[in-house]
């Protein structure tokens, strides 16, 4: 009902020259940029040319496989009680690896809570991601050592941080770019709209990367918008483009172009990666309550890893030994993560009082002292 009045409209082209797409869209769906079909066929797109060596292609494949394996291991660790929660990226590997590998070292990333694949590309040790899901910290890595900000749980907030950071980059005269990730659900938050506004007004070098995985917990995208999300950008004065989010090549090419655009002073751009959340929202979620199994099955056929594998094999870019080697590497990664998580100690109680302020605070000092005394009273009692 709510989409009826717009159904008659033609899919609109985004207006920036580099972002227009020419392929005929599937019925009912707007055009999206695709360079590798679900069947593993390489297709060309006039605006997004990309030429990768077989090394690079294998690299992307490896990234996706290792990310998925890590993700699966984390899910298993949650089941075993080692983690309190896990937000799986299953199905979104191409969107994350493609965009993540488009980044330069000096670019800066503002993720949501699901960008494990992007973290991987940034060189953040996967086990570091698990601290907050285990409940030993709220995000244990140093954002500046990999230019990868902490996970942000309050939906949409990080897009504004990204814009502010990008404004700073521009003030510095640097040619780095910023990328801010968010979901289809997040597109409804006022903060995201304000991020669009600020980025446009200040022409900030930022790429908004929306992973439309078609669900915000139990709500399908129709509960957030009645037109494709990439179109949102036009009304704020910058281009938007929809890319096949399960096509790692297209995600890489489009993000690269968007980052290049930002770097060269042309301002923000919105990339909507059209993908699918193959698993539950998190390990706490039960998707059988709200979505049909066939939808998942349909998307299985568009699997981002399988399509690249088909392509690699068909073209002879990778042989059996590569896949076998990767299998071993995956196992080793899983093992390392498993062991590292199990070895992750609980924080000391007194850690509660650390880093609340950079310059100290009298009340914190008082509470710390009181708590220490309280704790000591047990030690005394036990000591007696």
């Amino acid at each position: 009902m709510t989409v009826e009045s717009t159904a008659a409209r033609k899919p609109r082209r985004s207006s920036g020259k580099r972002t227009g797409t020419r392929k005929t869209p599937a019925a009912g769906q707007p055009e999206l940029v695709q360079l590798l079909t679900p069947e593993g066929e390489r297709v060309e797109h006039p605006d997004y040319l990309i030429d990768l060596t077989s090394d690079e292609l294998r690299g992307l494949y490896r990234d996706m496989v290792l990310t998925r394996r890590f993700d699966g291991e984390a899910t298993a660790l949650q089941r075993q009680g080692e983690l309190g929660l896990w937000a799986s990226l299953l199905g979104q590997e191409a969107a994350q690896i493609g965009s993540g590998r488009a980044l330069r070292d000096d670019d800066y990333v503002f993720p949501t809570y699901r960008e494990h694949g992007v973290a991987w590309c940034r060189g953040v040790d996967p086990t570091n991601l698990l601290g907050m899901f285990r409940g030993v910290n709220h995000g244990g890595w140093d954002p500046n050592s990999n230019n990868f900000h902490l996970y942000t749980i309050v939906i949409g907030s990080q897009t504004l941080h990204g814009v502010g950071y990008a404004m700073g980059v521009a003030k510095d005269g640097a040619d780095s770019a910023v990328i801010a990730y968010f979901g289809d659900g997040a597109s409804s938050q006022g903060d995201v709209a304000e991020a669009f506004t600020f980025s446009a007004v200040y022409n900030a070098p930022i790429v908004f990367f929306c992973q439309n995985n078609q669900w915000a917990i139990s709500e399908p995208t129709e509960k957030q918008t009645r037109v494709p999300l990439y179109q949102r950008a036009q009304g704020y004065g910058f281009p938007g483009v929809r890319v096949d989010g399960n096509d790692v090549l297209a995600c890489l090419a489009v993000t690269r172009a968007a980052l290049e655009r930002a770097r060269s002073g042309q301002g923000p751009m919105l990339v909507e990666a059209f993908t699918y959340r193959m698993g539950a929202h998190t390990t706490s979620d039960d998707p059988t309550r709200y979505r049909a199994e066939d939808e998942r099955v349909e998307w299985e056929a568009k699997d981002p890893i399988q399509r690249l594998r088909t392509y690699l094999e068909k073209e002879g870019f990778a042989d059996a030994s590569f896949f076998a080697e990767l299998e071993k590497e995956s196992d080793a990664l899983a093992k390392r993560v498993r062991e590292a998580v199990r070895a992750m100690p609980d924080p000391e109680p007194m850690a509660m009082f650390e880093h609340i302020y950079a310059d100290g605070h009298a009340l914190v000092d008082e509470e710390r002292a009181r708590f220490a005394a309280y704790q000591a009273s047990f030690a005394d009692a036990e000591g007696n």
């Binding site: 929660l85 409940g135 309050v154 006022g190 709500e219 924080p347 109680p349 509660m352 609340i356």
Partner: protein
Amino acid sequence: MAIEKLSLAKAVNEALRSTMEADPKVLVMGEDVGKLGGVFRVTDGLQKDFGEDRVIDTPLAESGIIGTAIGLALRGYRPVAEIQFDGFVFPAYDQIVTQLAKMHARALGKVKLPVVIRIPYGGGIGAVEHHSESPEALFAHVAGLKVVSPSNASDAYWMMRQAVESDDPVIYFEPKRRYWDKAEVDTAAIPGPLHAARVAREGTDLTLAAYGPMVKVCLEAAAAAAEEGKSLEVVDLRSMSPIDFDTVQRSVEKTRRLVVVHEAPVFLGTGAEIAARITERCFYHLEAPVLRVGGMHAPYPPARLEDEYLPGLDRVLDSVDRALAY
């Protein structure tokens, strides 16, 4: 018989169901409240039975949820809006504080804002950041809002019914770690006033005042203290705006000592107001200063530290001992 044994979550569910049956203007709205029934299943089955028009899955935007709930109320509806977790209420804070709370007064009483905001709150479930906070003081400080929190299934049921029937905005804090605790609910009872405190256990030596999740802890502390020969009275405040100071005062005039317990940070928490006001009311009765047990002036810690952060039996009894030592 109208007596059922219900979990606290189910009691809220039943209360919503009964108000929706009684009044077609009652709506339920929020993120994932429909098919999913909310992340805690509190709205389970409601959309199936009342339809998408009355149980509304909203876009992911809390300001939008409360802002549109206000508009619906102006049109004559009685929306019950869910905020998925305590830490996600802040994007809606402006609509709550500057619009919802003030619109009745702004209109000199010409419009009413019967909006209930349900917020699962507090810690103890091992969750990630923003899922364990206790922001009640930030609402109780604001005139125009009423703020309540049940501690058990029976109160959960009746207080929700009364909240929906109230013509004022009510922030209804649900103690999420008590969702699964069961108790008997008499759905045919005649409930007391929504904002009255209740003496949950009688005692003579000291009063423990608490609400929501901490009532259970205080009752356990009182039981433990009883074994040591100390008689603690436990007052379940139930309402943080208004606070039923009369009931607390009566108790303190008897016991002469008061310890207030809440999960929220102590600094400027509701305990501060209770301490200040009861000290004024009972200045010549108090044998000890009102002591407070609560959260630290710190962000809610990672889950593995929450047992240390949250007031538990030992910390409550420590303050009881301190108060009794005066």
